[in-house]
């Protein structure tokens, strides 16, 4: 005799409920109660949830049916989704694989000077460059060079794609209020969704052996700030200057390339900096789905309780993060200097 029997009786639904009664599987709590010999005495006034209602009316679904339904629906849609998404995302796999291969194939005595040179040209700051050289050499010294390069190559590819996709999306968003209204909730969702949750649908869609699986997860997570800040940057461009551009007869494309993008550049660069940092955060979590790199060692540290391995890898990640942040921030400051302040 369950709590809500009376209610269904009062509505005259007894007949309808009775037909499918009692074939629902028992919940774990019920099983335990049965095993211990006590009656299934729930709370005095249970919440009318699906499971509790099911006890009185077998024709109502249990919550486990709901989750099962979602899973079935997803599985049913999978072949169709896969046939569209697979070819679309295949280049991502190739890019990631070839980047991983290239970073591994280039010998360290070429790679390290190249990275230091990149740091110098981006930042033009002696301090930053020396710090970059020191950090990479330190990582190499403790035999973390290979994994660090794997992480770095994934970040390069994913940040590059995020910027290539994110900046045009941000521009389109700044031009159309309608598009902004549509995209803002999606961006909010991408940003608030716990990073692990990204992986669930992706694991279903792609096989764990494919590198695009983690590539997509990283890009989805990291693309948000560059889209947002491109949009914001263009919207914040001084309206007086835009009016002047219009008054002198600039076309929309001239306005975009000669006025809006240059003036929004500091904001866009701040977005790129955030995108880099977020892809680093995600590449560590993506080691759960076979992303190579420092994250794998962190995972090993957790799984096997190898404290030292985890901590060294963790420090490696921090070093990478600081390198990427300092270099991109120094580059940002340089952009800001040449274009706005003097």
């Amino acid at each position: 005799m369950a709590f809500y029997d009376g209610m269904f009786k009062a509505f005259g639904l007894e007949q309808w409920c009775g037909e499918g009664n009692s074939d629902a599987p028992l919940s774990m709590a019920d099983l335990l109660a049965k095993a211990s010999g006590k009656g299934a005495d729930g709370p005095i006034f249970p919440f009318p949830s699906l499971d509790n209602l099911n006890k009185s009316c077998g024709n109502l679904s249990q919550t486990r049916d709901l989750t099962k339904g979602i899973e079935d629906g997803f599985l049913a849609a999978k072949p169709a989704l896969k046939s569209v998404l697979d070819p679309l995302t295949q280049p991502l796999s190739w890019m990631l694989d070839s980047a991983l291969w290239a970073f591994a194939a280039i010998p360290w005595f070429i790679m390290i000077p190249v990275l230091v040179a990149v740091a110098w040209f981006a930042s033009r700051s002696k301090g930053v460059t020396i710090f970059v050289a020191f950090s990479i050499l330190l990582l190499a010294f403790v035999d973390h060079y290979d994994v660090a390069m794997q992480t770095l190559s994934i970040i390069f590819v994913c940040t590059g794609i995020s910027v290539l996709l994110g900046v045009p999306i941000g521009i389109a968003m700044s031009k159309s209020d309608k598009l902004e209204r549509v995209l803002v909730p999606i961006l909010d969702l991408l940003q608030t969704l716990p990073t692990f949750v990204y992986l669930i649908p992706l694991i279903f869609l792609f096989s764990v052996t494919e590198s695009k699986l983690y590539g997509i997860a990283i890009i989805l997570y990291a693309i948000v700030p560059v889209v947002r800040l491109t949009n914001l940057g263009i919207r914040l461009v001084d309206q007086d200057v835009i009016e002047a551009a219009n008054a002198f007869g600039m076309s929309s494309s001239q306005k975009l390339t000669k006025v809006e993008l240059p003036l929004a550049l500091p904001n866009i660069m701040a977005g790129v900096n955030q995108t880099i940092m977020m892809s680093l955060a995600m590449v560590v979590i993506a080691s759960l789905v076979s992303a190579p790199g420092l994250g794998v060692n962190v995972l090993r540290g957790i799984r096997n309780l190898e404290l030292g391995v985890g901590i060294v890898a963790g420090i490696g990640i921090v070093l990478l993060a600081v390198i990427l942040d300092r270099v991109s921030k120094a580059a940002l400051q340089r952009v800001d200097m040449t274009h706005v302040k003097h």
């Binding site: 001084d238 007086d240 200057v241 009016e243 002047a244 219009n246 008054a247 002198f248 007869g249 600039m250 076309s251 001239q254 000669k258 006025v259 240059p262 003036l263 040449t338 274009h339 706005v340 302040k341 003097h342």
Partner: protein, 349 residues
Amino acid sequence: MSNEPKVRLRGLYKIFGTDGQAALEHVKAGMGKDELLAKHHHVLGLQDINVDMQAGEITVVMGLSGSGKSTLIRHLNRLIDPTAGEILVDGEDVMQLSKSGLRAIRQNKMSMVFQKFALLPHRTIAQNAAMPLVVRGVEEKTWRAEAMKWLERVGLSGYENHYPAQLSGGMQQRVGIARALTANTDIMLMDEAFSALDPLIRTDMQDLLLELQEELHKTIVFITHDLDEALKLADHLVILKDGAVVQQGEPQGILLNPKDPYIEDFVSDINRARVLRVRSVMGPLKEGVSYEGDVQAGDNLESLIAISGGETGKTYRVLEGETVVGQLDMLDLVKALVPRISSAPSEAL
């Protein structure tokens, strides 16, 4: 008179709001600005504007803030679209232009100077001054030479590789003017161009503009809220109030014969001796009068008071260049110095 005006505005209305056309009916039926806002939540920007702007003249549009003057100037190059009315530039209706036609007219016929300068902060002074040419796709050698020429003309040579933020406000506006001149258009729109500058620099800039105008003869539309500035620059003065033209005409005429209490208020604070010219107060030549001396029709009354030593009994012969055009009785001059508002009861002539 036979000349076709360079710019003609015909029955121009602008109503800000979601349904301008519906609100237009109310306005044409005689509804005022406040009533329209209260009842229909539309803002009346401009109301039945009819202005002719002659080629080679400075037309000054004056009004207090909110009178619609900045809205008006933005209609000429359609930065704002009117709710109703015609805008004719060289006889061509700007309203009929396609998007590319409009861009062409903005590039080739009109240039604009802005109150807040609106320079590109990431470009050098030379690049800023050359902007109109760069937009047209002119090659660098040509635009650089043009920009340098006009920067020098406005007194900024040597600054071409600086950035706008490195310059003072007055210098930035010189760049703004150089930019408009580089465009080499017949029409120059100046939206409160000097209002953000301090008084001394403003006077400098007004002199610079008049000097440039003397040699270039552009059709200039100048917006200001400052009557002194308006009287100094204007060949044709248009006074706006609540989006409607209260009075327009030759500035001296408006000063001597204000049509409206609003304008009387405006002109009462003016140093009339400095603004009014002999031409405006002189009378026809009379027989048998002995003259103290000759004065030029273009002199202002202040200089005449200095010449006469303040005596009201004297009479001067007025020359326009070499030809005699009339005579000036110092008594008339003194009368003209008093605003009409207080002399109204005894106005018998």
